[in-house]
Each structure stands twice: as C-alpha cells, then as structure tokens.
Symmetry: C2
Subunit: 369 residues, 2 copies
Amino acid sequence: MAEALDQAEAFARIRLLRSPNIGPVSYAQLLMRFGSAAQALAALPELGSRGGRAYRAAPSETIEREIDAVRSAGAKYLFHDQPGYPALLGQLDSAPPILTWRGDLALASQPCVAMVGARNASAAAVKLARDFAAALAEAGFTVVSGLARGIDGAAHEGALNSSAGPRTVGVIASGIDIAYPPQHAALQERIASEGLLLAEQPPGTEPRGSHFPSRNRIIAGLAAGTLVVEAAVRSGSLITARLAGEAGREVMAIPGSPLDPRSHGGNHLIREGAVLVQSPEEVIELLSGFDGIPRSTFREPMGQFDSAPEELAEAEPADIAALLTTAPVAVDELIRQSGTSAAAVQLALLELEIAGRLERHAAGRVSLA
Amino acid sequence: MAEALDQAEAFARIRLLRSPNIGPVSYAQLLMRFGSAAQALAALPELGSRGGRAYRAAPSETIEREIDAVRSAGAKYLFHDQPGYPALLGQLDSAPPILTWRGDLALASQPCVAMVGARNASAAAVKLARDFAAALAEAGFTVVSGLARGIDGAAHEGALNSSAGPRTVGVIASGIDIAYPPQHAALQERIASEGLLLAEQPPGTEPRGSHFPSRNRIIAGLAAGTLVVEAAVRSGSLITARLAGEAGREVMAIPGSPLDPRSHGGNHLIREGAVLVQSPEEVIELLSGFDGIPRSTFREPMGQFDSAPEELAEAEPADIAALLTTAPVAVDELIRQSGTSAAAVQLALLELEIAGRLERHAAGRVSLA
C-alpha cells in the first residue's frame, strides 16, 4: 500500500476501523479487496446486509471528534503500512491497523523484550523485574510492558532509570488520553514524554476487560520474546505469553518456588516449553540469537490458510454460518469442510463479521458471535 | 550366569571385586571372559603383569574378615545375577556387581523414585521434600536417597512415616556397618530395620569423597527418575541428576527463585531439559508412564560400543596406552582410532586397568590414571 497517505484516505481508514464489527483481520481483508478504505466504506452497507441485517458505518462526526482528541492529547496516528510501524508487530495476523502514540516512536523498532507479571507481585520479584529491565535496557533492548501495578511498573521503571536511558514502551488498553491504573498516571506521563506510549483504542476509551487481551497481543507482538516474571496460573501475563508463543516468539519465565502461588504461572509455562531464565544475561543471549525460530517450544500452531484457487465457487454466508457454532474452529478446517476456496470462505466470514454474527479468536479460529 | 552360586564362587567373586584396580566394568568383563570369578582370579596375575607391573589379588584372609563383618552387621550379600537384584539398577553399564544390604530387599524392585538435594536446604524445601516423599510412597513408589542431612533425610522420613509404610531405600557411601553422617545414625538404623539399606563398599569402609559419585549412580540407577529438590550448581545432587540422565532415566527438578542460590542447581537442570515439577502428582504422572523413553531431555549420550568383528588383530596394551592421555576419551573413539576390534580394545583397556594405569569415567569414557 501507498506510503503517502492522503488525509481523506487516512480519515476513511480510521472510520472503517471504528465501524461496527470491524476488527484488524476484517479491516485488512477489506483494504485488500477494495484497494482503499474509502472504497471499502462505500461497499460496507451492502456487505453487511448480505449477512442478514442492516448495517451503518461509524458516523463521520465521531471520527472528527476522535482526531481532535488525539491532537489534544499530543498524540499521533500510525498506520500499519507507514515506515515507523514496528516490523515484528506488523508480522502478526491481527496486527493493529491503526495505533496512536506519544513519545519516541523509534524505540518500538529497536530490539524489544516484553516483560509481564503479577500486579500483586512479591517485593523480591518487583526488584528482580526492575533489575532485569535495567540490564536489558543497558544491553540495547527496549523493554515493553503494560503499565500495570507490580511487575509491569517495575519493568518500565527499571528501563527508564537505566544508564542506557528511557528504553521503554508502555502499551495501554485504554485510549491514549486515559491514565490507567490511576496510581501510574505519573509513570504513564513519563513514559509518554521519555519513552513511547502506544494505544490501539480510540481516545476517550476507558479500559474494559475485553481490551486487555487485545493490548497483550501488542506487547507480545512488539517483542522478540516475552519474559514472565511472576504470574498466577489464570492471569493476563499468561495470555501474553501464549500470544507470544502463537506469534512464534520466545517465551521465557523466571521460576519460583511451588510454595508460592505467584510462581505457578511461570513454572507452568516452563513445564510447557518456555525457556527458564535466571539472569538478564540468559535473556540477552537468547534474544540476541533470535532468528525467527524460537528455542522456546511453548506455542500453539497458528491457523494456516490454504491458498486454494480463486476459481472455485463462492460460498454463501449462509453455508459458512451453518458450519459454525459458538465453539471456535480453525478457518482452515472450515475451508476443508466447505469444499470451496479459501478466498470465498474468507469473504463469507468477513460478511458474517461485519453483520456482527462472527467472533474471531486467537490462532486464526472463528465462532458464531 | 548361574542363579545358584556356590560358596566358593561367591567367595571368589568378592575377592575378585576387592582386588586392586578392579571395578564394576572390568569385573563384568573378566567374568564374561573367564566364565567364573575363580578362573578370572587365576588369570589375574598374568593379565595384570601384561600391563607392565607385578599384580597381586586381594588376600583371602581379608575376604574372610569381610564376610564375618557383613554377618555381624546383620547384612547379606547380593550378586548382580541373583533374583533379588533390582532390574533397573542392573541395566547400568557400571551396575554394582556385589551389594550388601539390610532390611526389605523387595523395596528396591518396586517402582522407585530418587530424591536428592542440598544438605543445607531451606526449611521450606525440607518440608517440601518430606511431603513429596510421603505422597510418592502413598502412590506406591519407593523413595531412594542417600541419607545425607537436609533433603535426603527429609525424603527418607517422609516415606518412612507415610501411611503407605516405610517405602524407602537408603544407599550409603560407606560400608554397611558404618553410620554416616553421625547425626543420621538413628535414621540409618531405622531404614535398615523398616526399609532397605544398601552399600557397595565393603564393611568397615569409612566414606571418602570418591565414594559419593559411585554411590550416587546407585541412587540414580535404582530409580525410573531422579527428583532434585534444592541444590546448588556444583553439588552431588547434580551429579546424581546427570547420572540419571546418562542412564536414560527421567530427571526432574523443583524450581526456585533465582534469588536463592540453593535453587540454581535445579533451575539449571530445567534449563538443560529436566522436567519442572511442582507437585508429587506431576512426578507420579511422569513416572507412571515411564516406558524407557524419558520426557526429560537432560542427558549426555552414553558411550556406544561398536561391535566390530572379532577377527581383527588384537591390540597390544601399549598401542592403546599410546592413544590415551589423562583426558577422558570415549571407548568407541579409541576403537575407531585403533583400527582394531572392539573386543581387542576392551581387553587392552582391561589389562591397563588391572595394572592400575587406567581410569574409567562416566558415559563409557576412559583416561590414563
């Protein structure tokens, strides 16, 4: 796609992405199919109604207000095909098509390591996170985290205060103009001015539970590897680790005693193939040699898309919907079962999605909404 | 070999094994070559002198005194080809040809798990070891350890006091009649009367540093898997783990915080392929399914012996000695370099060993003494 993005198309892109039922995958498919966001927007009502219901794109006024808010927050937009867009993040199937950012964008294009962990981390683990982050920053890595209390905050602080300067990226689940958690408002402001602050949600968005896994995929996606410092078994940190594994990145964990439940998540990851690390040097060694083939074996296979010839009959949305249930299924499995082309199935899924009847899950799986 | 062992041959076997420079490997080779210990003893002086020096087998009177001491201690002999000899232990290349024992020999032929760890273990790890051992005993496993302070003692106690009864084997580096460490004299006596006490060294032997690795191979060899509970990087526990790995058994470790140096050994093992375990259930699951192909990848390859045709010329001890240095080398490498048969190289090594000029190392490697 064009590097020079005219203002009308930029506006159309934002409007397309903010329209109902459009996510990163459908956005990318619409852009590919129609050549521009403006043309995709024009086609949306018809596509949406083929799924069975009337469809309205996001109102232009909402987008105008959003753009004003981004400007007021001192933030800028970054589109997925612009030069500053971080290359590793762009490799995700679900790479965010549009980000807003404040600070030093170049930090995200340097070698990144993600550090995540528990909000209620032990004092020892908080110190460990701070020390690891400082050492990693000094070794030339940008430390990416999510600004949460506990491990996240310690990782940011360690990198900000390292002798290598403020090598840290904070990725937030809210809009770029919302501070969350409130205790970290000052830290967030410091990251925005000295490091880099990234947000996928439009300005004004308060963080909701459903935003955190999306945010976590950005943290994992920016980095060659994700390090879990201290995490319980059911925690956002483990979701980030899983997303890193699915994206083919290194998954690392610092072990801990089985007597401390805050260690169980990291220990579990190691049992399942994450690399156990005890020192920043081990992280540096692992990530410096990262060539796209992780030593960590903690990952689920990505949903692979068959590239069947386009000549096959187009599947109707109804046919594909009949194959779906609320249980997620791999798109390639759907393609096999449908007996039609991958492109036809993708289009049918796109139409169902725009109509609000489809939900996309990790690893290329889909279900009825 | 014959199951019915007449008294004269039993005596000859003990005498052969106690003769200078005879170890488990040379003992087995001599028995195979000469058909009986009596005949091997008769051939020893000539074999030994071919290595370059005069040779004297162990005096008969020493063996008579040893047999009396074993009787006085309430112990018995166990030869490697007798029915009660533990099958897994017998699979070792360096299986002890003769053991002395007190207690319930059948315990060693039930599914065994070895538990080892630091003498100066943390209170938390000692409790963990005790709890793991009790749970493993209740699941039908015999807990094997080395009677050291710290983790070893806790493992024995946990198994002794479990509701499943005294399912534990203590393997000592001294003679069967020597209590070591002194603090565990009462524990050792309890294991001998309720569990099983095993010794490879002759009675009267005080434990020496060099005996511990030999003892550790028995601990590892009895068990389908070895669990390291808390261990520093350079420790006997890690030797036991390495021997377990070399023997093709599971190597497991309980992780701990990198901030505690006593965790570094176990964490290192996990990094190198040992299975991280957090609960007795995970040990039980792993070992119950053990079919000879460990899930743990922590192991060095065993030295493999080529089976070259016997017709090749015999290598003279001098030729083989010329290929050796004080740095250990794999026997199969020697065979390749010598250009002669595996059997001839083994004989030459045997002669060098009996002459006191050869040292055998782990994984089938040898060096000049």
